[in-house]
């Protein structure tokens, strides 16, 4: 992989550029000849800030929409009432595709690929992509001259899907280039797992899986609408089979290539470790209902299995860092959360028992026994209060008042714990980013690889331009301070109270950062149990960490 070494000095840092949000105007002269000007704005992929990517995205969107429209055309109950709309959409699509074809034909002499040919336009016409573009619109015009069977026409319209190759093939070539000399398994790994070898194809693959997940979940949701399910039962079945096929292949590829991941190297143990991972378990659950439904539909509740397919939505959490942070927080805070859950269970049982004791005689149908009263206890303690069951006796009501107050406090503990732990984790991650930034900026400049790291981290932590800017300013000031004092001996710093103050602030900042990054429980154990810090030192440490 070739890496561009673009150095940006600290004075030139442009956060928008680092975050990739820069609205860089395209460097296209308005004095260019019309053909070149049009090509530069609409079709040239090498000019940043032009409309090429937008044009490609919209064309891609139109192609995918065409696919769905074609699917719906096969459902008479949908097609017949909206026949005209379907026709208008077809005309619109053909119009856009024709304009695109003619534009590419007109601009072919400006295209790098054809400009060197003797007859660039002829070369374009016979190029594979142009043939695909032609086939995408030709059937529409063909029917104007020759009576073509509607079914044949619909089949020919499927050729429009081939236009997607315009996006996939360049990505595939880039993928091959990135993976030259690598093994088959490494290539599978590059496609499935995010890595430096994946390139655009990996992004397309991820997007494709995401679309499959959304489609499949949408289908499950729509299946619950009786009128829709009645019409599209067969289509939903086919979609489910296709999606499960894709997910099954993905699951196998993931299991096969996971040994290329660091920490999963052993052929069997590594794969078992991968299979036990949460995200792989989710992948497995996403395909399981399909197989169970076919073989065990007389033993299992089909509706349960169908709803179970909604677990596919969890597949999208693979690329979602917020979910990963939440899992990390849950793992870290598990002992505290389980302790508060234990108290909650005690309180629920106590409330249910008291409720049964006071109310059973007055309302034997509602407070039948302690297990059935647990429902009322949970609803009351969680402040939901449906009101379908309520105490009527004086002691029962008095007890409910007291326990409802306690319940508000106890049931709020896990939520408060989680939210504070979540925000702590974010602060911690930002501090880590700050230290990374500090290390990166120590040499006085940022290179392209470092920009990529900052961009990825800023995206992961959902930092805005202002936040990154503030971090950079802080580091900048810290570096300046360090440069100012680092060469001074402590007695000279002490001689100047303003220097001493800045130095003190820097030291406190360092201690605070240390407190965020260190394993607190381990630190406390060493400090308290082994007596490595005096009580005053420990108190000061806690004070600086805002833990006293």
């Amino acid at each position: 992989m070739s890496e561009t070494k673009t150095f940006i000095s600290l004075k030139e840092i442009n956060v928008k550029h680092i975050l990739g949000e820069e609205d860089q105007p395209a460097d296209i002269s308005p004095d260019l000849p019309l053909r070149k000007w049009l090509h530069s704005w609409l079709l040239n992929p090498d000019i940043r800030g032009n409309h090429q990517a937008t044009v490609e995205s919209w064309i891609g969107f139109l192609i995918v929409t065409n696919l769905f429209v074609m699917l719906f055309e096969h459902v008479p109950q949908i097609y017949d009432p909206y026949k005209n709309w379907f026709h208008f959409f077809d005309v619109f699509s053909v119009g856009i595709f024709t304009v695109e074809y003619l534009l590419r034909f007109y601009l072919a002499p400006e295209d790098e690929e054809f400009s060197q040919k003797k007859n660039p336009r002829l070369a374009y016409v016979f190029s594979p992509f142009a043939l695909i573009d032609f086939l995408a619109v030709a059937p529409f015009y063909l029917q104007a001259f020759i009576p073509v069977d509607l079914r044949v026409l619909r089949f020919l319209r499927l050729l429009r899907m081939l236009k997607l190759f315009r996006i996939v093939i360049p990505a595939y070539h880039e993928f091959l280039e990135l993976n030259a000399g690598r093994t088959f398994r490494q290539r599978i790994h590059a496609l499935i797992f995010p890595s430096a070898y994946g390139g655009k194809l990996q992004e397309i693959y991820d997007g494709f899986i995401g679309v499959c997940v959304l489609l499949s979940v949408f289908a499950v949701v729509m299946e619950s609408v009786q009128s829709v399910s009645y019409l599209l039962n067969i289509e939903f079945t086919i979609l489910d089979a296709v999606v499960v096929g894709i997910f099954t292949v993905e699951y196998c590829m993931r299991m096969y290539s996971c040994v290329e991941e660091p920490g999963f190297k052993a052929p069997i143990a590594g794969r078992l470790k991968q299979a036990k991972g949460v995200s792989t378990m989710i992948d497995f659950l996403a395909i399981l209902p399909f197989f169970l439904e076919v073989f065990l539909h007389h033993l299992l509740d089909l509706r349960f299995l169908r709803v179970f397919r909604l677990s596919r939505l969890l597949k999208l959490t693979r690329g979602n860092d917020a979910t990963q942070i939440l899992v990390k927080v849950l793992k870290r805070e598990w002992p505290v959360i389980s302790a508060s859950a234990f108290i909650m269970v005690l309180l629920v049982v106590l409330t249910a028992s008291l409720g049964y004791l006071f109310e059973h005689d007055a309302q034997p149908d509602k407070f039948e026994n302690i297990p059935t009263t647990i429902y009322w206890a949970v609803i009351t303690l969680a402040s939901v209060g449906y009101g379908d069951i309520s105490p009527v006796t004086v002691p029962g009501r008095a007890m409910t008042v007291v326990l409802a107050f306690i319940g508000i406090g106890i049931f709020a503990i896990p939520a408060a714990l989680l939210s504070s732990a979540f925000s702590d984790e974010l602060v911690k991650e930002r501090e880590v980013l700050k230290s990374e930034l500090y290390e990166m900026m120590k040499d006085g400049h940022i290179d392209a690889a470092e920009i990529e790291t900052i961009r990825a981290e800023a995206n992961r932590l959902h930092l805005s331009e202002e936040e990154v800017n503030a971090l950079i300013t802080q580091i900048h000031q810290a570096l300046e301070r360090e440069a100012k004092f680092s060469h001074l001996p402590i007695n000279q710093i002490a001689a100047r109270p303003d220097f001493a103050l800045e130095h003190y602030k820097a030291l406190v900042g360092d201690i605070r950062q240390l407190g965020l990054l260190v394993d607190r429980s381990e630190f406390d154990k060493l400090a308290i149990d082994k007596g490595r810090l005096s009580p005053d030192e420990l108190a000061l440490w806690k004070h600086i960490q805002h833990r006293d």
Partner: protein, 208 residues
């Protein structure tokens, strides 16, 4: 790109997996098609009953057993008569009685009863070849679709809807239209079919 033995094993495994998924997909499609077939049966029944509902009050209505206003069945076709002679369970009223819709006994098919009407209806050319796609037999009428009972898949459920008094929380009460029920007046009906999991799929509500 070099392929190792492991790669070949993986590719072979993938081929087996893809074939298995395709095969299971075809099975699922076949099952779904059977449910579609059952729906078509229900739709055909609804279409016929709706059409009959508009004409059966006429004095010259040809399907006597289904006529409104107390008209006796004039001629039960030979096929139905032959079927009548065969031993059969009493009607098909409950979900546990999952046998195909059997001809009803004498008491159940008096003039203008639902049993007599369906008997005559199934002797018509339009219904003669009607089959439950799951069992390749004549579709049975059952009281309700019960998910735990796999024998009910593809069965038809015909319920009469009786409006409740004004102010009730439910607009009507549904009960199975059994063979002995008189049909000489206007009826509000609901037809459903049982899908492959024996869950009810509502086809339509209409006036008969």
């Amino acid at each position: 790109m070099k392929f190792t033995t492991g790669d070949y094993i993986f590719l072979s495994f993938m081929a087996v997996v893809v074939v298995a998924v395709v095969w299971i997909g075809i099975l699922a499609h076949e099952e779904a098609s059977k449910t579609e077939g059952a729906k078509r049966n229900g739709e055909q029944l609804v279409a016929w009953l709706t059409e009959a509902g508009t004409q059966r009050a006429n004095p010259d209505y040809s399907i006597g057993a289904c006529a409104a206003g107390g008209k006796a069945p004039e001629a039960i076709p030979v096929a139905a008569a032959a079927a009548e002679a065969a031993p059969a369970p009493e009607g098909a009223a409950s979900s546990s009685e999952a046998a195909p819709a059997a001809p009803v006994k004498e008491a159940a098919k008096g003039p203008n009863t639902w049993g007599a009407c369906t008997e005559q209806m199934f002797s018509l050319p339009a219904f003669k070849d009607m089959k439950n796609p799951f069992f390749e037999e004549r579709p049975q009428f059952v009281a309700a679709c019960v998910p735990s009972d796999a024998t009910l898949t593809g069965a038809l459920v015909v319920e009469k809807l009786v409006p409740t008094p004004v102010g009730s929380s439910i607009p009507f009460v549904a009960s199975q239209l059994v063979d002995t029920d008189l049909i000489d007046g206007k009826l509000q009906l609901r037809v459903s079919v049982c899908d492959k999991g024996s869950y009810a799929i509502k086809i339509a509500e209409f006036e008969f």
